[in-house]
Subunit: 323 residues, 2 copies
């Protein structure tokens, strides 16, 4: 396949495994890159920038294909050492970075100066236009149905993808709501030059999470996600489980809930432990609505080849019906 995204990233298939906290380890990224897509390490999953450097090196022992590093810049009290993280990324020769969150213009400038191709992930056309103006190479546009942070506009991909591809000159990767070749075909038809998947990649053989987590994604339907932190204007889409139901209930009680009230339930280490133990109700499990379309646990290689075949078949079938 040949799109502006495969060409910009030097990959065979325009399928990106987006940044995923606790999941974006070398095994995951290398498996996707070896399958022809773009794997992505999550910078913040590593305890220190030096650990990230070692993970980058480790990933390189597992694949000789391009892979990226995701850096999500959160508004947080204890900010990670972002400067040092970008140092490490550049020093270790990473050529592709996926940014997300509130990225200062200097970061884009710095990455560009280092010859890094930047994919910036955002949830609205206005943010995408701002990113384009700041010189990012590719926008990954994340619809309402996505796992993680869909923003507060609640515009899903069927509208957001064409709104973005109409407005932007740079390539657009469609993110959220895609798990198979039909979704990929739809995204391409809507003008995207590639797709980004997270949830689908968690239910692959190579994903570094407990098999019971993968099975929970297979079992879940499209109605089995919840939006938490809506009342804090920091909405997050996660799998429906005991934790997310409790968080939503606390947010709905009279007077609502503060983040401090919710912290014991949603703390990162607790989510990480859940992914490792497979005790699905013990912590937050990120999932998009596309979980309803996830029905098996293939290898990344099987998944990507199947998607491409499905994508071509869906387009051929649709074209045939169009006469």
């Amino acid at each position: 396949m040949k799109t502006r995204v495969t060409e910009a990233l030097g990959i065979r298939l325009p399928i990106v495994q987006g940044g995923m906290q606790w999941v974006g380890l070398a095994e995951m990224a290398a498996a996707v890159s070896n399958a022809g897509g773009l794997g992505t390490l999550s910078a913040l999953t590593q305890p220190t920038p030096e650990d990230l450097g070692r993970e980058i090196d480790r990933c390189r022992t597992l694949t000789d294909r391009p892979f990226g590093v995701n850096v999500t810049m959160l508004r947080t009290m204890n900010a990670p050492p972002y400067d040092r993280i970008f140092d490490v990324i550049v020093e270790h020769g990473v050529r592709i970075v996926e940014t997300a969150g509130n990225v200062p213009a200097e970061v884009f400038d710095r990455l560009r100066a280092a010859g890094v191709t930047v994919i910036h992930k955002c949830t609205s056309v206005r943010h995408a236009l701002a990113a384009e103006k700041r010189g990012v190479d590719i926008v990954s546009i994340d619809g309402f149905e996505c796992a993680g942070h869909p923003g507060e506009d609640d515009v899903p991909g069927l509208v957001l993808i064409p709104a973005a591809t109409r407005a932007l000159k740079i390539p657009v990767i469609a993110s959220g709501g895609i798990a198979d070749g039909a979704g990929m075909a739809a995204a391409l038809a809507l003008g995207a030059d590639g797709v980004n998947m997270g949830t689908r990649f968690v239910a692959t053989r190579e994903a570094p999470v407990h098999p019971r987590i993968k099975q929970a994604l297979v079992d879940a339907r499209e109605t089995d996600t919840r939006l938490m932190f809506r009342t804090l204007k920091n909405t997050a889409r996660v799998l429906r489980n005991a934790i997310s139901e409790e968080v939503v209930a606390l947010e709905r009680r009279d007077g609502g809930a503060t983040f401090d009230d919710l912290r014991p339930l949603v703390a990162g280490p607790r989510g990480r432990a859940t992914l490792a133990s497979g005790e699905v109700d013990d912590g937050v499990v990120w999932a998009g609505q596309v979980v309803g379309l996830v029905d098996d646990i293939p290898s990344c290689g099987e998944l990507l080849e199947r998607m491409v075949a499905q994508c071509r078949a869906a387009l051929a079938d649709a074209s045939r019906r169009c006469g």
Copy 2:
């Protein structure tokens, strides 16, 4: 074009103008049917069943192509005379009915016995499966982004359309979020056999609403809709205007709002008057998020021919990139 929907409905293009209160008059339906799609009269827009009969006859003077009648069965205190409405539909030889809402199984049985092709509109896979079991011919599946009543599951088309087409044997019409040929191509790629549009058809030359309403749709962006009645579990997506902002504010106040509190703002005659006067802030104006993709006011003929050309081009371009 040739899909299971064009074949079942006897139309040239698989593009349906869905039921729209106050808009689904003979001019609108006939314009869409003459353009090769399926126009639809809204039964409840007519004051009495006899008026509906006259509107059906009037539509027939404006087109010799198939058109449908929408019957939305609301939970309401003063129920319209549904039995009589279906009598009139059958007596006047209507061959296609779009149902929506809480339709008793007897209604489906009766329409089937009369040889009517039934399109049932619903917002979830479980409701679609129930409708299929009850013998409806086609399901129109309405995603979260749609105008009107998206239900309470909040699953948008990019996930809901493939979830429905995977689950159902009968043809699926994709509804919500589609306004152009790229969206149509996406829907076909996701397995749908046709598309349904409402908002897009309001911004056509033939739509029986004031030009200022059409211009308001052209001017609006994808972020310019509001969900009202969310707290009443009867969510409705409408254009952002003074009325919908006030309704949402009342729902958000301490203690919330009852429907009786909101009735003076949202009463049907008030919305109808707004469509006629073009005073956009005077009443409820229904609109889906796809309003952000509506940029002009073509005739229905121009719109449909353009959509087909765009659809074919989008599929060809996507196929080319797939190698």
